[in-house]
Symmetry: C2
Subunit: 343 residues, 2 copies
């Protein structure tokens, strides 16, 4: 790979403004020690010359690191690409680079990616994938991130992680409750859940909400069939096959994300089981295609783009002693995939 092009340097700006290099630097970084008068003049000159700081030099010199590492399970999963969109927006506004990497839903691989980001000297790490119910790797990850933070790095996560860092918390439990309550209020009593791997906190939390909806009506949660498979479309397919085989009386399937719901719908379509006439189906996330499936999918909307924005904004705030939390809301979006049970 080549060298980046040579350009205007800060010395050139300093010279044009008739100040020293140090003063120019202070003016542009917003550090104090410069009269506001001089500072604004320098900024003026810099802008008129079209000066853009060299992020490599700045970072090397010990200034702010100008890149943020974003860890997603997979970028070409709509849930994550929407989050990435939000992160990229904010980064763009602040002139930061975003380095995206995949975790593949594997805590060990994720830890390696995080180590790599740190080694690469990113200044901020955003972990957008779900947390894991795996104390061992969570502990290693936490140790790594704590060391990173003690050296000045910033971290924010999306989802419930046991990492002791700033977090954006999607409304998973409440969303799960809303989904269960919706189906119960339609009259369904034979529910089944197509759940992702139990090792993901996202799955656990959404599940908890579903169970609470049953209890709130005095129903026995232990009678609810829950099939744990991959948290993907393919997992949705397999879960559905199993549900149909082991629980043929089921009238509604709750998929714990939209990808799984797509798998559910696809299997039902293949078997010509009409939705919602013979089977109601709900998803979770409201990825943009959810409205275009046929039937269009009833689901819980999470503000993914905003979650991405919030996470980066949180990470860029001055650090606080205690980890901060921002909860998102959720919206139940009722579409055509749910209706009263056939009777």
């Amino acid at each position: 790979m080549p060298k980046p092009g040579s350009r205007l340097r800060l010395v050139d700006v300093a010279e044009a403004a008739g100040v020293s290099l140090a003063t120019a630097s202070r003016s542009l970084t917003g550090r104090d020690g410069v009269s506001e008068e001089v500072a604004s003049r320098v900024r003026q000159v810099a802008a008129s010359l079209g000066y853009v700081v060299n992020p490599y030099a700045r970072t090397l010199a010990g200034g702010a690191s100008s890149s943020v590492g974003l860890v997603v399970h997979q970028v070409d999963d709509p849930y994550f690409s929407e989050i990435a969109g939000g992160v990229i927006q904010v980064a763009g506004e602040r002139g930061l680079m975003v380095q995206i990497c995949h975790s593949g839903r594997d805590p060990d691989y994720e830890l390696r990616q995080i180590r790599h980001l740190i080694a690469q000297r990113v200044g901020v790490i955003i972990i957008a994938g779900s947390g894991y119910d795996d104390p061992r790797t969570e502990a290693s990850t936490k140790a790594e991130l704590t060391a990173f933070q003690s050296l000045g790095g910033r971290v924010a996560v999306i989802g419930r992680h046991a990492l002791g860092v700033d977090a954006v918390l999607p409304d998973n439990e409440a969303g799960g409750f809303a989904l269960g309550a919706h189906l119960l209020s339609l009259g369904h009593r034979r529910l089944a859940v197509a759940a992702g791997t139990g090792a993901l906190t996202t799955v656990t939390d959404r599940m908890a909400g579903v169970l609470r909806s049953l209890r709130s009506l005095g129903l026995d949660p232990s009678s609810l069939p829950v099939v744990h498979t991959d948290f993907t479309r393919e997992g949705g397919c397999r879960a559905t096959e199993q549900i149909l085989r082991d629980h043929p009386e089921t009238t509604a399937i709750i998929a714990l994300n939209d990808a799984m719901a797509m798998g559910v719908l696809s299997v039902l379509r293949g078997l010509k089981i009409s939705v919602p006439k013979k089977m109601s189906v709900v998803g979770f996330d409201d990825v943009s295609v959810a409205a275009d499936l046929a039937p269009s999918l009833t689901t819980v909307r999470l503000p993914m783009t905003d979650m991405g924005r919030m996470a980066l904004e949180l990470a860029l705030k001055p650090p606080s002693t205690r980890a901060r939390r921002r909860s998102t809301g959720h919206t139940l979006v009722v579409r055509d995939s749910t209706g009263p049970p056939r009777r």
Copy 2:
């Protein structure tokens, strides 16, 4: 933003390996001037120590720039997120950062983004969005990129651009032909096209293929209704409304990308016009949800992830005098949205 953490430096590796800094550097960058014996020992030591080069220092020192700028119309559009996935894979393999930015399908805004990437000193720029039939901005963009390249920067584009740089060329014309031929062979004679903005070369090329399919059967291409709207789902909706209003005899709609096809299907569903019984619909791209729409969408598959990989690989090759081109293939994927016309 904080400083990145302090870590192992190349001197430490050099010391541990008992060689000089320069030798260590040469060993790790693969430069020659070191005996293969020493070089491999240094690499060994570096690996065992967990050394990772500081990209900021390396870039500043005039070595390879370690970041690639990726310009997409929008990351949370599945077409682009799949391409981004490919670029990220390759970048990950080579230890490069990927800086993604949005162009929003606006040539002027795109030019600004490119300028910004250059100012940020990326070493490689990948433009993944369609080219524009707009000589003015294409010329400005070309000038900018030429200057960038003359300073050592590398560029590759995906799609037909008039930029004189290495390019990955999606099989747009042939794909358009395949789509037209498929419908014609089913017996359709009343086609209509929901096309994106005529300003995009992607639209022009796909359209050309469709027209050729008509001519190949001796039909008159000028009688084909073509509605140009946004190259999005929303555009597909509006195009469909217009087609139904002005050309009610239409039996098949060709949408020039899957996003538009989703809009088409959605309007038809709303009007209870059955697909494919009363209307056949085809899309283009084969984004991953295409198979999950109902009816599942007949479309032309483009290898988006590979296109992303190829583009970055192309850009990372040693520069050549003439611009290189890599054509992709395409596959017609026939699903349930097409059938013979109602008679």
